[in-house]
């Protein structure tokens, strides 16, 4: 315990409370709803508790670096630390039967440098009576620097979004919307779930966080539930995610199936530490199976091809939800999970190849669809799919640190863009169609300014956050295969183009307003614009945590080089980075990608700079544009190929149920009924008589049998 106190600023147990603060807030708001307290105040428990979590997370970011720096010192020390962690858990101390983390602990594997904390034992896996103590699914948290990066930006962006929501979820007179308190309760629940997902130390707890964020997504997409499209979108999101989770669950089962025979007593085959330790002893086929099944879950949660279809529809939710859940945090869970499990994925090149292929398809496809939409939030949604696909490519190319770097920068600028779009929507009377307004720059100056920063960052404009992280991925993809690199660069150009198409259509040109906007639309209140500015600062500068002035093969402007602080920090986690992953592409690549970004912006300026009322691309590109606009008819295809046949199968089953099985039973009983027809005379229809007759009959049968038995024996 002493050793532990000297290495961290705050005790680990205190960090372990981090997820529970927002849950507490959600419970308080829930009680306020139950007691019918005034909705006006519903924001404060959530803002306060999320702020506590964010503060804890800031300190944790420093400590997580210390833990991992310390732990990678030596194997012997790691063993001692494991015992120390065992002692911190009350459960373990009191159990006395040996435990999952204590007992006979084999030396720590080299690449699992974090600390595991067991909160309590959750689900029994039987065998409790045996000598070694049972197998458990425990609630364990795992702390390393990857946890630190994730929890840091998750809580920070959450705090900004929660503050923004105080103003957003009100009408023009400042009165709270219907369901104001419900909204905040769900947000609190979400932050809890997301933090649990990030902190989870074994696969089942990860699955818990995974499903709970999906639940919050479901509840918040369906926030405007009387609207049929919102209700349908919520259901779609949950079910498409469940398709992924189906694979994910099977992946967890497979891990147990394959890893369990290798483990020793006291090791839990569901803990990250144990799985990563033994993963190399599995057969290649087993690793590939696990990898592909886990990937299924990531495809659903991170909205990747072919399971991306739920994310554009999810824009039915309130804008802060789109910003927080569907851009900055929840959808990055898939990337996080693959990065976390990079010992598994790095061991199977086949799975990595699949990830790259799906990532490239997703990136290009989503970018093209984004170029032909008019709904601002949907453009951003497709952009999110495309950017997440970038991260997948990074993961597949053996550069998960770059993937996580992009997750982190993307969180700032994409949350900013969604909140900006929300600000526009709020003032335009919930109209978000780019054809219905233009020239809003004069009415919404703060929104315009901050959105400009966000758009530049997303477009990969030099020196802003998106530039650095995207560039690393492009380098890694060139190292993987030049074709992938070229496609990534093309996507980067398209990204710049569609982002600024949206920007110009919204803020440039003559001022046009929809009828819903009212008489005098004005800039959003300060409680909304301040988070925008904070995030804009992040969107501009967050990238510099991943940039250094020394070392590295290539540089930008002669002194800014990739692989900065963040990467060194991440190297203390379970992430496995291919040493050569970042070497591809050559020295000129950063300048080329900067040029492409500026070129994309310039092209958008030429075509959309005056916010024309008829989309010029729709005329130039014709049929191709229509296909993009119709989203490649993928939804229609899924409906015909999967939904309708499955429902048809349901109808078939039900028809069988009503006629077939009952009919069969009717046939089977026809014989005794035929016999019974002759005996009908002595039947009076009373149930008791039947019962009596049946009992007598059976008894007689048994007695006859006994008698025969006795006679025979």
């Amino acid at each position: 315990m002493l050793a532990q106190a000297s290495t961290t600023l705050l005790p680990l147990k205190l960090y372990a409370t981090l997820p529970f603060w927002p849950l507490l807030g959600a419970i308080v708001v829930g009680l306020m709803i139950a007691l019918r307290a005034r909705a006006e105040r519903a924001w404060w428990p959530i803002v306060a508790t999320v702020a506590v979590s964010a503060l804890l997370a800031m300190v944790f970011v420093f400590d997580a670096g210390r833990i991992t720096a310390h732990e990678s010192g030596g194997e012997a020390h790691a063993t001692a630390a494991q015992h120390a962690v065992g002692e911190t858990s009350r459960e373990v101390a009191h159990a006395g039967e040996g435990s999952a983390t204590g007992g006979e602990w084999t030396p720590e594997p080299a690449r699992v440098p974090g600390k595991t904390i067991t909160l309590f034992r959750w689900i029994s896996l039987g065998e409790r009576t045996s000598l070694q103590g049972g197998q458990w699914i425990a609630a364990t948290f795992y702390f390393d620097s990857l946890t630190g990066v994730m929890i840091g930006f998750v809580t920070f962006v959450s705090l900004m979004v929660v503050i923004y929501s105080i103003g957003y979820m009100r009408d023009h007179h400042g009165h709270p919307e219907r369901g104001y308190e419900r909204f905040f309760a769900f947000l609190g629940l979400f932050v809890f779930s997301m933090a649990t997902l990030v902190f989870a130390g074994n696969f089942v707890l990860l699955y818990l966080g995974w499903e709970l964020v999906g639940l919050c997504s479901y509840l918040l997409i369906g926030f405007y539930y009387p609207k049929p499209s919102a209700a349908a979108a919520a259901k779609k999101a949950f079910i498409v995610n469940r398709i992924g989770d189906f694979g994910f669950a099977l992946g967890i089962f497979s891990i147990y199936l394959f890893v369990k025979p290798l483990t020793h007593a006291g090791e839990n085959p569901l803990d990250y530490a144990v799985v990563f330790h033994y993963i190399h002893q599995l057969a290649p086929g087993q690793i590939t199976t696990i990898g592909l099944l886990l990937l299924c879950g990531a495809l659903g949660k991170s909205a990747q091809f072919p399971l991306y279809v739920w994310l554009p529809d999810a824009m039915e939710g309130p804008s802060p939800v789109s910003a927080l859940i569907h851009a900055a945090t929840m959808v990055t869970a898939g990337v996080y999970m693959i990065a976390r499990c990079s010992p598994i994925f790095a061991a199977s090149q086949a799975v990595l190849n699949v990830i790259v292929v799906l990532g490239v398809i997703g990136a290009v496809m989503a970018a093209t669809m984004a170029m032909a939409q008019f709904d601002m939030k949907r453009i951003l949604a497709y952009s999110t799919i495309s950017q997440l696909a970038y991260m997948f490519v990074a993961l597949g190319c053996g550069a998960p640190d770059s993937g996580i770097f992009h997750v982190y920068t993307h969180a700032f600028f994409k949350a900013l863009l969604f909140l900006g779009a929300g600000s526009v929507m709020h003032q335009m009377g919930h109209v978000i169609d780019l054809r219905k307004f233009s020239g809003l720059g004069r009415i919404l100056p703060h929104t315009r300014n901050t959105m400009l920063v966000g758009c530049l960052a997303l477009a990969g404009f030099p020196l802003l956050a998106g530039f650095w992280s995207k560039d690393e991925i492009v380098h890694a993809s060139f190292q993987y295969h030049p074709a992938v690199g070229v496609l990534m660069l093309a996507t980067a150009a398209m990204t710049a183009y569609y982002t600024f198409r949206m920007y110009f259509l919204c803020f440039h040109g003559p001022t046009r307003l929809p009828d819903e906007a009212g008489e005098h639309p004005h800039e959003s209140p300060r409680v909304m614009t301040i988070p925008l500015y904070v995030l804009a600062v992040g969107a501009a500068l967050a990238g510099y945590l991943g940039v250094t002035v020394a070392g590295g093969a290539h540089s930008f402007l002669g002194f800014l080089r990739p692989h900065g602080l963040l990467h060194h920090y991440l190297h203390g986690s379970t992430i496995i980075v291919d040493e050569n992953a970042h070497a591809g592409g050559g020295l000129w690549l950063m300048y080329l990608s900067a040029l492409l970004a500026i070129g994309g912006i310039a092209a958008a300026w030429l075509r959309y700079g005056t916010a024309p009322r008829v989309d010029p691309d729709s005329i130039t590109l014709g049929r191709l544009w229509s296909i993009w606009n119709a989203k490649y008819y993928v939804d229609e295809f899924y409906d015909r190929a999967f939904v309708r046949p499955l429902r048809g199968l349901g109808r078939l089953c039900f028809a069988i149920d009503r006629n077939g099985i009952d009919g069969l039973i009717w046939v089977v009983t026809a014989v005794p009924r035929g016999l019974g027809a002759g005996l009908r005379l002595i039947q009076n229809g009373a149930m008791q008589t039947y019962a009596l007759g049946m009992a007598i009959g059976v008894t007689a049968l048994v007695l006859i049998w006994r008698w025969m038995e006795a006679a025979g024996g």
Binding site: W122, Y218, R651
Partner: protein
């Protein structure tokens, strides 16, 4: 209050049977002008049995029996000339106690939810509910197999009348179908029980045939063929009760027509009589039969999971949808049980409890909607969330519990069951994969239902909601009070399932798992004696072989056979309150 002495516990156990029975007679014979007392008496009895059942469950430990009472009931002949002895032998143990607690929880809620729904033949109605209560408790506490059978059959009668008198439009047909279906099945089970007892008397060398569960579940010497046939005989009664695909067709009809309380108790408790029967009797009494049929059971289970779920999706009647979901859910329960690994059994028992809570709760909420709108047709209902936010909260919570959201109770059992099937050497990954598709299909049909009923624009039949029976548009306080205990249980059992499994797991291990393991290790009789005499195939490695182990060809071997010896030895530490009379 935790019962301190075994005498108190015995009093409690007997109270669970006789208090409702007595109350049923009292309620039945109430004078007509006192009719208003009937629901109150029934509720009071319900609360009392809950207050008795809960501490009894908390007091059960992993080992031994609680509140054992044994007396001769029917004795024919004596040891010299041979004969028959049926004992009134009741007790609780760690396997039955959670189910007793579940029954104790659901009975008062089922009674309370009938207050506004039942308006005619009130005394009779509550009398039947109380009689049913006695029967349900009797099934779970019976330690004599024939006594179990008597209670098992007895539960049919009250439910038959509850459906037939207070049910919906098609109630007569539903009641008859329900009765005949289950009765025919259980008669075959009865024959199986008799055969088993007679053979047991032969094998143990006693001339008096008796049905003691402990004796039968430590019996050795039955041939594999006999066990296999006996398993089929037990299957007939239990599988229909479960209801196990393809013998489930009575259930949707019975559920749809039954009054709400009947549905709650049917789904919550009565279906568990079937699964409990499999766990308590089929597995330990004829383990070789269970091992022999395990893959077939697994097949039927996954077929039922998928088939039931697909049927759910095309329903328009909410109640029928929930009824079909039971077919799917009980498939999960059976899948876990016949994975024949320790956590599969434990997950299966948890599934019984959790299904009882969430499906019971769903039926309660559906009943509350029905009382207001007089329809359960999803084409006529929609968007109720805006009108009934409190109801919506509960319905969404129970739906989430039902589709196995982690953190709620459904997840724990669903996950362990699938986990067990996937890791089982009897069943294996293929069963786990098909079974796990149920978690996807479950989300599809349940969210389809929630979406239709709760969300979208408001849609309600003309002239509704009908609040004439003292109801309000949203739930009344009484209705909230009915649902709150279930909501608490949903969360509590999701976060801390160990409150059940801590005592359950060792009990399952000793009473069921070791029998099955031994049977699987040596499928030809005499298998159990081989285990005790130490001839178990010993593993050369020092590593314990566990169910997840795919390298061994046995399901599960362990060197620790002390549990079995304990089972076969005299009941140390369990006082016989009344010694049997022969």
């Amino acid at each position: 209050m935790i019962p301190r002495s075994d005498a108190m516990a015995a009093l409690g156990v007997n109270l669970l049977i006789f208090l409702p029975l007595l109350a049923a007679i009292v309620v039945w014979t109430l004078p007509e002008r006192r009719e208003g007392l009937a629901p109150r008496i029934a509720l009071a009895v319900g609360v009392v049995v809950f207050l008795v059942a809960l501490p009894l469950w908390l007091a059960t430990s992993a080992e031994g029996l609680l509140g054992q009472t044994s007396a001769s009931w029917i004795v024919v002949g004596n040891e010299d000339v041979g004969g028959l002895r049926i004992a009134y032998h009741v007790a609780l143990d760690a396997i039955s106690a959670p189910l007793v607690a579940l029954t104790g929880l659901l009975v008062p809620l089922a009674v309370w939810c009938s207050f506004t729904a039942i308006k005619h033949r009130v005394r009779e109605y509550y009398a039947w509910i109380l009689a049913l209560t006695a029967g349900m408790f009797g099934v779970f506490v019976a330690r004599d197999v024939l006594l179990f059978y008597v209670f098992f059959e007895f539960t049919l009668v009250p439910l038959y009348f509850l459906i037939g008198i207070w049910g919906g439009a098609d109630r007569r047909y539903a009641a008859n179908k329900f009765f005949i279906y289950t009765f025919v099945g259980s008669v075959i089970t009865f024959a199986g029980i008799l055969y088993l007892a007679i053979r047991a008397a032969d094998l143990t060398g006693t001339s008096v045939i008796h049905f003691d569960l402990r004796m039968l579940s430590t019996l050795t010497g039955l041939s594999a063929a006999e066990q296999s046939l006996l398993f089929v005989a037990f299957f007939c009664g239990f599988a229909i009760k479960v209801p196990f695909f393809p013998l489930h067709t009575w259930l949707p009809l019975a559920h749809t027509e039954a009054p709400t309380a009947g549905s709650v108790l049917l789904a919550g408790v009565l279906l568990k009589l079937g699964t409990y029967g499999f766990l308590r009797f089929s597995l330990p009494l004829v383990p070789a039969g269970a091992v022999h049929w395990a893959t077939v059971m697994g097949w039927l289970a996954i077929a039922g999971i998928v088939y039931g779920a697909l049927c759910c999706w095309v329903q328009t009647d909410v109640k029928k949808l929930v009824a079909y979901s039971s077919v799917s859910h009980l498939g999960f329960c059976m899948l876990g049980m016949f994975s024949l690994v320790p956590f599969g059994l434990s997950g299966s028992v948890l599934y019984m409890i959790n299904h009882g809570i969430s499906t019971g709760a769903l039926f309660l909420v559906v009943g509350m909607i029905y009382e207001r709108y007089h329809t359960r047709d999803m084409n006529q209902l929609g968007g109720l969330a805006r009108k009934m936010p409190v109801m919506t909260f509960f319905l969404v919570l129970f739906v989430l519990s039902s589709i196995g959201l982690p953190g709620l109770n459904g997840f724990v059992s669903e996950f362990t069951v699938l986990f067990a099937a996937y890791n089982s050497t009897t069943l294996g990954p293929a069963y786990g994969v098909v079974g796990a598709s149920g978690i996807l299909l479950g989300a599809i049909y349940m969210l389809y239902m929630a979406g239709r009923v709760l969300f979208g624009p408001l849609k309600e039949p003309a002239g509704t909601p009908d609040t004439s029976a003292g109801l309000t548009t949203d739930l009344t306080r009484r209705e909230i009070a009915i649902l709150v205990p279930l909501a608490i249980a949903v969360v509590a059992l999701g976060v801390f399932p160990r409150v059940i499994t801590d005592s359950l797991d060792p009990a399952l291990d000793h009473q069921v798992m070791q029998r099955v393991t031994a049977a699987a290790a040596a499928p030809v009789a005499p298998f159990a004696s081989a285990t005790v005499s130490g001839e178990t195939p010993k593993h050369s490695s020092d590593r314990r072989t566990t169910p997840g182990d795919t390298r061994g060809d046995t399901i599960f071997t362990r060197e620790d056979s002390r549990g079995l010896e304990r089972l076969r030895g005299p009941d140390a530490g369990v006082p016989e309150l009344a010694a049997g009379g022969f």
